[in-house]
């Protein structure tokens, strides 16, 4: 799909090609979030991401539709990791297609702010200086 909206939760790091810009999109913006090597001064090994399906996907789709409408975008495409993402790897990618740059940049900022505030996605640090994860039982991250 090149126009419109897409939302994908991906097990592990985000990869794969970026959605092509449809004709008429003067501006294509791609944001890639990667796991940084440290958090609060402590060295990280990875981040563990959790989602609550299908609520998380629904929220992302609703947010995508709202931001698309509010900013008059041509397309908005979200990929987000679930599970373990090692440092340096991509955990989140947002692609915004718009006629003009300003609306695309504003939409990108708004989407990410609202995603971080409202959407059922969680991150749990896996520190490099402890052998095991902080652990709350194994498997089943995100209830499906």
């Amino acid at each position: 799909m090149s126009a419109g909206i897409s939302v994908r939760l991906v097990e592990g790091p985000v990869n794969g090609d970026v959605v092509d810009a449809p004709r008429g999109a003067g501006a294509a913006l791609v944001f890639e979030g990667r796991v940084r090597p440290n958090e609060g001064g402590r060295l990280l090994e990875a981040l563990g991401y959790e989602a609550y399906s299908p609520m998380t996907e629904r929220q992302l789709e609703q947010l995508a539709a709202a931001v698309l409408e509010e900013h008059g975008l041509i397309g908005l495409h979200v990929d987000h990791s679930v599970g373990r993402v090692p440092i340096g790897a991509m955990s989140f990618r947002l692609v915004v297609h718009s006629a003009h740059r300003k609306s695309g940049l504003a939409a990108m900022d708004a989407f990410i702010d609202r995603m971080k505030r409202d959407v059922a996605l969680w991150k749990v640090p896996v520190y490099a200086d402890v052998s095991a994860s902080h652990g709350v039982g194994k498997g089943a991250a995100g209830g499906g």
Binding site: G33, Y49, E50, Y52, P54, M55, R58, H80, S91, F92, I112, M115, K116, R117, D118, V119, A120, L121, W122, K123, V124, H134, V136, G137, A140, G142, G143
Partner: protein, 90 residues
Amino acid sequence: MTRETRTTVRMEVLLFGPQAALAKVRALSIEVVPGETTCADALRELGEACEFLRDSLPASRLAVNHALVDADVVLRGDEALALIGMVGGG
């Protein structure tokens, strides 16, 4: 003094991310009176069930059947419940 007989059920509330880490469990069980207990009540119950959650509950909401609902929504007793707090994707 009158004595009422009320049906109560126990409902599971799923926990995620930092709140699951704080509580050290992936779900907590709370007592609910169908048709009476509100989401606000349920959040209070969670705080009683696990003191480590209390600080984060004021900024948390309950998801009922995978949708965020207002605090005054009354539970029927058969819904899927999850605590949505301390979120932070990206």
